[in-house]
Symmetry: C2
Subunit: 397 residues, 2 copies
Amino acid sequence: MCASSVFIPIVPAGGSGTRLWPLSRRSEPKFLLDLTGTGSSLLQQTLRRLEPIADHPPIIVTGAVHRDAVTTQAQAVAAGADRHARILAEPSPKNSMPAIAWAAAVAERIDENAVIGSFAADHLIHDVDGFTATIRAAHRAAELGHLVTIGIEPTYPATGFGYIQEADGTPEQLGAAGARAVARFVEKPDAETAQSFLAAGGFTWNAGMFVARASLILHWLDRLLPQVADAARQLARLGQEHVGPEEIDRIWQGMTSIAIDHALAEPLAAEGAVAMVPARFDWDDVGDFHALSRQLRSARPAAQQGHDDATPAGSAVQQGSGGAGSDVVALGDAPVIADASRASIYSRTGRPVAVVGLEDITVVDTEDVLLVLADDHAQSLSGLVANLQEHGQGHLR
Amino acid sequence: MCASSVFIPIVPAGGSGTRLWPLSRRSEPKFLLDLTGTGSSLLQQTLRRLEPIADHPPIIVTGAVHRDAVTTQAQAVAAGADRHARILAEPSPKNSMPAIAWAAAVAERIDENAVIGSFAADHLIHDVDGFTATIRAAHRAAELGHLVTIGIEPTYPATGFGYIQEADGTPEQLGAAGARAVARFVEKPDAETAQSFLAAGGFTWNAGMFVARASLILHWLDRLLPQVADAARQLARLGQEHVGPEEIDRIWQGMTSIAIDHALAEPLAAEGAVAMVPARFDWDDVGDFHALSRQLRSARPAAQQGHDDATPAGSAVQQGSGGAGSDVVALGDAPVIADASRASIYSRTGRPVAVVGLEDITVVDTEDVLLVLADDHAQSLSGLVANLQEHGQGHLR
């Protein structure tokens, strides 16, 4: 069973990723960074991953200040000049719904039957074949008139993700497409609740990916948030290149700042209009340094694991005198002399880094600030970044 | 009872202090550094401390490569042009005995009855009055014909220092001078032995300070190491300024590389010719980063202890968002944002440093290398420095 409608990927490229500060900054957010030493940014890896399923070049929605950087990065990985991404530049951040609505309206003008899929620009997925198969299934389910989300099989009782609860039964047609009916979305739970979800089964992590007909998005917005639907259609009609930024600003200001989860996903789930396709691929939102280090460690050639060795990024990790070091990863070209366990070194300066007697530690060496972080405090970093201003260091954000 | 002979301080300024790497380097050893944020190097603090007891400008013995830096620093703290230190430049390192022998021979030519006192250039002593009183007592004991050492009352069973064991009885005259007879010197003991010393009593730490008539040193050297005594007298007779370096080199090469402890102190103790004056002052050899951090913490104004605050060095330490930080000290002018306990930050770059979720940690930020060290591994740093060459980083030593 093949999908018959065109598929247009949407890539919201937003968020500053404060939990990866000072690698990520407001001026250089996470999606623009090559965090895994592959030579490509997370945005570029996302665009490459979407290439096999895209019937039309992707639509990227990003902040106006990142427009040039996003354009440059996107063009560098486009399969050809006719595959250049369309960039929609938001005058100001308004959460995910306005961005997706705008992109949906643009997609609907490209093809009124278009199915869009929205994929964050800063997540990591390595299994492109599994991803392609999963999204093709979501595409088919979307053609049946559903808002389709992707469910990640939980591997631990995470409290940092929202959950999707499956409905008791799934209509036959939906099931044939590889999808399941969704009962409801659950916001990030506490640890006890998360544990109960895993014990009960039928819960998956919500990775924030949505696949649906563009017209379905706009149809429901007409009913639930008509102002957002109208503004999205106006913006799409204007075409960004034919009007001044003032006109876009004016229309944009009329948008409500709201997440697609609250604006559409939750109300539609209550209406029985949401489906879920289980992910058949690895997924990591690289939410903090702990997650990033885990990624870098798992990416190392198996033969080298547990040794002092070169990393995916090619940085030289050398054993200190103590001989106890292991599982030390480095990103950047700085020589690392480590007598440490599970240390992660991110260098932008190239200066040699010596780490002695430490475990589960992250060192981030940049031109204008140095961070030394205990990995079990990785989540608290955003609080520190939020307070940089009051410490007189707001320029470092 | 006053001493009647002139007192001439000797300051051996050697050793690279690898346990304070990368603050200290071969090119910039510990004694040249302002490690405590006072604006003076350890050498300069040593010279100032000796001023009240010196009847003659001090004699500094240092490596030829450090001659210019030592001269500049010494002149900057001299009480006047007529108090400029005499600098003896060793062509190569030969441990402490040749250096002290040379200085003793120079002192003997200044005054044949001179008493010299040898004090390392890189130890910290804050109580100058107590130091002065102690050395005056040692001066009197030295006039009685003893090699006099200074004993530090042990505060814990240290394994990093040698010990001095008192003799059972002390001759009356020596006791009247404030000194005690010494039975023997003990090299750095293991933990169990150190513990037994503290339990037994009568043991003090050997701080490596020696006070004696210059003629006594040379007399014993004539008997025990005549070659060293001859070379020392030749060097003193030549006067460094009147001959070429080749002549000094030639004579120096004839010296035996040996520590004064083995060359003189131990044999003289066996002869009953060694006395000890108990130190009436604080003392720290600032042997590693743990010791340095302890010094910086104790130097903070009491009202500020346990808070995030300015340090002696005036660096701004600011609380991170976590609110758990305490006892964070910083040396240098880098802003420090700390959500950490007992963290020590040494910065030469001025870059802001953020430390999150860590305890008992030292961060050293220099222009060409970065060190992150667990304080309980402070002693293992010298091993790492010794191996820098094989890591291709020998230039960082």
